[in-house]
Amino acid sequence: MTGAGTKGTTLGGRVAAPAVLPTARGRAVRTEVAVIGGGLAGLVAALAAAEARAEVVLVRRGLGTTAMGSGALDFPAELPALWISGPSPCPGPESVVEAAEALVRWLGAEGLRLEDRPGAGLSLMDIFGHVRRADLAPASLAAGRVDRWPGAGEGGGGRLLFVEVEPYGAFRAEWCRRAAVAAGLVRDEQTAVAVVPVPGLEEEGDVPAVRVARALEDPDTGRVFAAAVAGRARRAGATAVALPPVLGLDRSPQVLLALELALTEAWSTDGGRPPVVFELLSPPPSVPAQRLLRALERRARAAGVRVEPGRVTGPAGGPDPVGRTGWARGLPVGAVTVETHGRTWTLAARRFVLATGKFVSGGLEAGERGLREAVFGLDVFVPPPPGWPPGRVPAGSRPARDLVWDRFTARHPVFEAGLAVDGRLRPLDAEGRVAAPDVLAAGSVIGGASHFADGSGSGVAAVTGFLAGRLAAAEGRRGA
């Protein structure tokens, strides 16, 4: 009955009594693959493992660093040189393609269509008028790629309408418009600005994006809003409409559909194509990023992954269900201690995937005694000092301040820090030995790349997560 244990909570489906579940008294949960970390890497690993028919429990605190991003993913066609050693080289182009296809498929199943492909290099504008690069983005963002703007290319006609949504305060349409013109992306006379209020929120001075997004999910509010946008677009003769990213959270397809319908209706009298609607990017925190991760988490639950909130505090010490007393380097970990809402429980698994991220998500910590990996205390590596041969060196006790440059915009070595792993994604210690044979690492916790400065974070997370999930499933399945 091992399968039943993971099929605990399905969306509206029948549920049989699960085998063992977290309790207030500290009993152990046993599973085949335990994923630590609920960001992009962790969720992809969990989904990949579940698809490979393993029983998966995912423990997470937040939703990872990607959830704090813009919702568009940086996914190069070729991964940067991570600190993955061993006979096989760093995940090759086939892995990139496979992971990307899986990600597109999973999100597609949740109604979120990702556009373009690894390495596509789309240029997307954000609400402050900066142009940002992404490779895979949800359709509502990708539709705003600047190479398809009115006026892009020679002799392009059309008009781009920037719609400010009141009372979402962060987006000032006029400023964004000026930035777009100044950047040469569109001519002044091809732009227009409109302000549309969200019904029901008129009394507010400033409302977070999430609240606007939810308000627009109400069918009546969404309809009135859509009609107003359509009216302004008609008046401006727009061929494209740029909105801030507030078009729904979990039900954004409905909100976008309402807009589409309203625009189609507004254009129905004169014929001609209604304008394209897209969302601008916003810096963290953004609604599209939340959409993405929430959708992925829903997908994981639907695939039978048991998602538990909690913080993994370390390897389980003391006599545990697996019969080990504490953990020493080189031996399998076997079980970890989890703290959820102040209560602790034990999670035992045949394989663990450590997808805890770098500093933002708490995978790595910077103390006054240097950098450390937060869950198992695994060895952390950093780029070598200037003048040394390339590669990696143990972080030792160097504080983070010694690993940054004076210039804010420089590429700081500290953000390349992380674990070194072998060809099977097992973390290595400073002597190059496998630290724990049942632990695999995935995502930005692996060192060698600065996820944002190298424009590769989402790609690394997805590809290494995918490989880790598959490997963990193959090894962790009982009877494997």
Binding site: R132, G169, E365, A366, E368
Partner: protein, 588 residues
């Protein structure tokens, strides 16, 4: 900060009341160089006396020494036994400042921990004596506490002391104080400019008869300073400002200004750093005996906690002052003895600045005099038309200004129609009356803005808060929250740009505390930049350069102590700034 920008198209580039044409034709009575608390106070004093004054500040008001102090209007407690007259004067000055701008002032109680049970009564007598002096600075009476009571007020103190006595110091927002002083000068007719650098003094040779004679004639001549050549650092415009008397109030840059006239003077600048920790962690301030026996303190200040400061000779370029990890360690090691959990706290920024103390040889840094001097260079160096005010400290800035202004008026001669000094009696803008809690709540209701935002706005603008809200909310979007940590409304940002000479993000930071919270600008700097750009009609590239400079300035104060939460915040901030699609990034 030597950032040149092309002249912006459209909008008002120059602040209200100034003509872009310059003042070449005008003859000012006084030109004051340096817009810190001293220079601004001098300008205010002279303007209030009815003279025609120009004030130029190279960067922004409070961007020098003034902005790096720990923000208290001390009452000279440390001199009570050795020099009670000085204590009396400082208490009176503190009281004058508080009356002039009551909205900017807040109470900071200090806990003095007394180790030796035998000394408690003596200390209490000392504080009772001080309570008499404190009355002029509206100080609250001391309170004696048992160790249990003190621990109840501040649970994280390390036990082991015999008793605690509380004392009261007024805290103040120094940046706004500085701006308000300059504003008052402007409202009384002074021409005030920030981002205006003196690139050279205008020196004329003259014979005893007063006729200008060329140096080559060989006559031993009086030299006379008749003004300065100034350059707007943001637009690049250069012009000449002529004045009968020029006052050098450059703080640490006093010697540099004098060098422009060929004079060689030295100060003995000492560097001090302090830590800014996020949020108020304690209810009271604590004085701590540091590892080298010096006195440092930890105190709640508005919505942060300050720990400082250090005191070391500085021989470098005043423009390149930066904090050192060793200094941070000094402060943390020392404060750990009193507050064991200090290392867990989030250091949001390390602030470093220079005290422009007078030159003294053979004296320990801590003991260098905080006194000030007014130098009449005609008497000292045969250079007429130039007066320097050097040394001193913020608490006595008004007195420094009064003495300097007296010297200036004397130089201007008996024919000058100058009134008496009025700085002790008149309020600063917004300080005309006290705005109480009920009125604040009424403002929140009337303008339909959240009460927390109004309270902070009233703290910054006092009696003028209603005007700020009226004007700022007259146009759409005034209720938007540009900064969530503080909070700051767009209405207030607009006011700062239109009426308080805010031309860069750094200026905004000093006016409304933008980016001074834990996020260090992640959420607010882009928004503020957009508002700035729209208000001033700036182009996106100019604003982008300002954004980068602002973020660089924030980084400078953070990279020296990058642990825990700060590194995490930096990863997010850097990612949002630089990164690829997932965390935002530049088009390269």
């Amino acid at each position: 900060m030597d950032t040149t920008r092309p002249r912006p198209e459209g909008g008002t580039a120059a602040p209200e009341g100034l003509s872009a044409q310059g003042y070449a034709a005008e003859q000012f009575d006084v030109l004051v160089i340096g817009g810190g608390i001293t220079g601004a106070s001098v300008a205010r004093d002279l303007a209030l006396r009815g003279l025609r004054v120009a004030l130029v500040e190279r960067d922004d008001f409070g961007s020098g020494t003034t902005g790096t102090c720990m923000g208290m209007l001390h009452g000279g407690l440390q001199y009570l036994l050795s020099d009670p007259e000085l204590t009396r004067v400082e208490c009176a000055e503190s009281g004058i400042m508080q009356r002039a701008a009551p909205h900017l002032v807040f109470a900071i109680p200090f806990l003095y921990l007394i180790e030796d049970p035998g000394k408690v009564d003596a200390y209490e007598a000392f504080f009772s004596y001080y309570d008499e002096f404190q009355k002029t600075k509206y100080g609250r009476p001391h309170v004696r506490l048992t160790p249990e009571e003190a621990l109840e007020i501040e649970p994280s103190l390390r036990p082991g002391f015999a008793a605690a006595l509380t004392n009261d110091e007024p805290g103040v927002d120094v940046f706004r104080l500085n701006v308000l002083v300059a504003l008052d000068a402007a409202e009384h007719g002074a021409v005030v400019r920030n981002h205006t650098e003196v690139v050279g003094l205008l020196v004329e040779e003259s014979s005893g008869s007063g006729q200008p004679v060329s140096a080559a004639s060989g006559t031993s001549a009086h030299r006379r300073v008749v003004g300065a050549r100034v350059r707007d650092t943001l637009t690049g415009d250069v012009e000449e400002l002529r004045a009968k008397v020029t006052v050098n109030a450059g703080g640490p840059w006093v010697p540099r200004v004098l060098a422009m006239a060929g004079l060689r003077y030295r100060l003995r600048p000492t560097k001090g750093i302090h830590l800014i920790l996020d949020r108020r962690l304690t209810s009271a301030g604590v004085t701590i005996s540091a590892i080298d026996g010096r006195s440092i303190c930890l105190l709640p200040h508005e919505n942060t906690t300050l720990v400082g400061c250090t005191d070391d000779d500085y021989f470098g370029d005043p423009d390149e002052v930066r904090p050192d990890p060793q200094e941070v360690e000094y402060l943390l090691t020392s404060s750990e003895t009193v507050l064991p959990r200090i290392r867990e706290a989030r250091v949001v920024r390390v602030m470093a600045g220079l005290r422009p103390t007078l030159y003294q040889y053979g004296v320990y840094e801590d003991k260098v005099t905080r006194d000030f001097e007014v130098w009449d260079h005609e008497a000292r160096d045969g250079l007429a038309g130039l007066v320097t005010v050097a040394g001193g400290k913020m608490t006595i800035a008004r007195i420094m200004a009064e003495k300097t202004a007296d010297a200036v008026v004397a130089k201007l001669g008996p024919a000058t129609d100058a009134g008496p000094c009025r700085t002790a009696d008149l309020p600063l803008p917004g300080g005309e009356r006290v705005v109480g809690a009920e009125e604040t709540e009424e403002l929140a209701r009337r303008f339909r803005v959240p009460l927390p935002a109004v309270v902070r706005l009233v703290h910054r603008h006092g009696a003028r808060a209603a005007r700020v809200l009226e004007e700022g909310l007259a146009e759409r979007g005034g209720r938007r929250q540009v900064c969530a940590c503080e909070p700051v409304l767009e209405a207030e940002v607009r006011w700062a740009v239109r009426h308080e000479w805010a031309r860069t993000l750094g200026d905004l930071r000093r006016r409304v505390r933008l980016g001074m919270g834990p996020c260090q600008g992640l959420g607010c700097s882009e928004q503020a930049a957009a508002v700035l750009g729209l208000e001033l009609g700036l182009g996106p590239e100019q604003v982008a350069a300002d954004l980068e400079a602002f973020r660089q300035e924030r980084w400078k104060g953070q990279r020296v102590w990058l642990t825990g939460e700060q590194l995490r915040q930096q990863e997010l901030n850097q990612g949002a700034w630089l990164g690829g699609g997932a965390l935002g990034g530049w088009r390269r």
